[in-house]
Amino acid sequence: MSNPTPLDGPGLEEGKTMVADAPAAPAPGREGRRRHAKKEAKPASLWTDAWHDLRRRPMFIISVIIILILLVMAVWPSLFTSIDPFDARTCDLSAARQGPGPGHLFGRDNLGCDLYARTIYGARNSIVIGVLTTVLTAIIGGLFGIFAGYRGGAIDTLASRITEVFFAIPSVLGALLIASTLRGKYNSILLVILALSVLGWPMVYRIMRAAVITAKSQDFVVAAKALGAGSGRIMFRHLLPNSLASVIVVATINLGTYIAAEAALSFLGVGVQSPDISWGLMIADARDRFITAPLPLVFPALFLSITVLAFIMMGDAVRDALDPKLR
């Protein structure tokens, strides 16, 4: 920690008032500083620093562990349960809505099938729909938003009017229309993702555009232009990192909305259909008998909440890590 102070530079001859310009950086000895001192020789950038920071955030580690478990559950559900919920022989109608007991950890649903196995197997469809829709809307909305916000003028006006058309369509009705028109041509999961993405990107677009417009008026963008930076560099090196925070927050919150929207579409007859399983479908099925048998609704809803929470926590951690002031 024996860094020379900035006063050791040739600036020293400038006068006695140099002391007033002493480093405003945090006092040496703090953990963050020690890390910098050790890695002084290695070039740092926003992303590598963010990664170093994330690895030490408990919130990030916990959320990533949860997400990894959920992903394993989605890919290999048989690792978690020996019961195959697609096998009708595992269901026992006479034991419908039975409470938790040996062999049936969560009890049985309205048709007497094992609730635990169904919840585990439901993860795949729900997570695929939630994550892919979130990623797709973030990419489409984000790219359009950054481009329209930076360019402004006619391009911005045109893009904004187009998104207003999408905003005017009621989302469930619109998704229903898209999914039912294209039904049969594509896999039903793909259709749900497509329908939700087409209607979901304008929200990300608006947030990105607003953040970019705020960022682009700042002097550092002017400075980059004066250096001769091209549009690509300004958009992706300067504007994107300074506009990403709000998009991350909205995108992760929307993830849960998309999983729930899938349930609404299933209920209306498009999207995932029985005997296929998804959390949304399970919640919709269990809704009618919630008063007498709450568990068939509670368990998939609990898994859904944990998934959404994990993604929101991860999003928050990433957002904080990308802000050097919060490190």
Binding site: A20, A22, S45, L46
Partner: protein
């Protein structure tokens, strides 16, 4: 420092009008803000031209046009003999190496999400042939040292520095491409008085070291006097007086310059009582609709009929050794009067 060498920057009849439009679909131009309206000057190697004037007189617009961040309405900005305002694409990018800027606000002019190394290294990334990839980091550390910062702080972020240190980072970024001209747009007005002197001294030292020419824009007359070889006084988009710093400060010929100088605070209570104060009446007129003839006539105590009819040109006038734009130019030492 100023020598009689070739000018590095030649500005001729530079005009920048911002159109005022009306209507939503069909935009009709109903007028123009005449932010810069016919400015000409030369800047030699190693020279500092100070530009002073009150808020809204077009100083910052002039800086933006010089930097080719705004297109001039007419006129030319020649750097090394070529007009930067007409350059495009690769040529413009190459020309930018010769003119860089230091911005006013050190808190917004540095990207908060880039490390100091990335900020100062960005010029090398944009102009890839200036420094080979392996050398860039070393170059950035050299630049940090040149501006009096610790080269080990290369991985820090702007918010970990004080205002004065940030301004040094901004200066290092401007120096990276080894330009001939640096436009300083109020580089110290956002800083504490104690820090101002350090940054000014740093700029002076760098000028001696690298033979830089500065355009130094400020509204603080004493700061401009300290660093400038020549001073231009701007009023409503035009130069009203242009000359060596001693000429402008000790023998101002234009009434506006005299009024400006009479407002400079005098740190001596005795002298303060004795000196003359010229208090201008009214506000500056709108640059969208400047007065006819001399733009200063509406607030000038010397104004006559001719001032409304004939626009006074910026030229050397009888009884003065430098250029001024007043029909009744007359040297008058305001600062030492009394």
């Amino acid at each position: 420092m100023a020598s009689g060498s070739e000018p590095v920057l030649e500005v001729r009849d530079l005009v920048k009008h911002f159109p005022l439009t009306q209507g939503i679909l069909y935009k009709k131009q109903i007028g123009a803000i005449k932010a810069v309206d016919g400015v000409s000057f030369d800047l030699r190697k190693g020279e500092t031209l100070g530009i002073v004037g009150e808020s809204g007189c077009g100083k910052s617009t002039l800086a933006k046009v010089l930097m080719a961040l705004e297109q001039p309405t007419s006129g030319s900005v020649r750097i090394g003999g070529r007009d930067i305002s007409k350059a495009r694409g690769g040529e413009l990018k190459r020309m930018r190496r010769n003119i860089q800027m230091v911005m006013q606000d050190p808190y917004t002019s540095l990207n908060p999400r880039m490390t100091v190394g990335d900020i100062i290294g960005e010029p090398f990334e944009i102009h890839t042939d200036v420094a080979p990839k392996g050398d860039r980091r070393k170059k950035v550390q050299e630049l940090l040292e040149v501006v009096g910062l610790n080269p080990d702080h290369i991985n820090r972020y702007p918010h970990q520095f004080s205002g004065g240190q940030r301004q040094r980072i901004g200066i290092a970024r401007g120096l990276a491409l080894q330009p001939e001209v640096i436009v300083c747009d109020e580089p110290v007005s956002a800083l504490d008085v104690s820090i101002q002197a350090q940054v000014i001294n740093l700029l002076g030292r760098l000028q001696d070291e690298f033979g830089l020419a500065y355009i130094f824009i400020a509204h603080d007359l004493s700061v401009v006097r300290h660093i400038s070889d020549r001073v231009g006084v701007m009023y409503l988009g035009k130069f009203v007086e242009l000359g060596k710093d001693a000429e402008i400060y000790d023998r101002p010929a234009h009434p506006y310059t005299q009024a400006l100088l009479s407002a400079v605070p005098v740190p001596d209570p005795e002298g303060r009582e004795q000196r003359e104060r010229i208090i201008l009446q009214g506000d500056p007129p709108s640059p969208a609709n400047p007065p006819s003839g001399c733009r200063f006539r509406t607030r000038c105590w010397k104004a006559q009929e001719i001032c409304a009819k004939e626009e006074p040109l910026l030229q050397i006038r009888p009884g003065t050794a430098h250029m001024s734009a007043c029909h009744f130019a007359e040297t008058h030492d305001v600062v030492h009067a009394g």
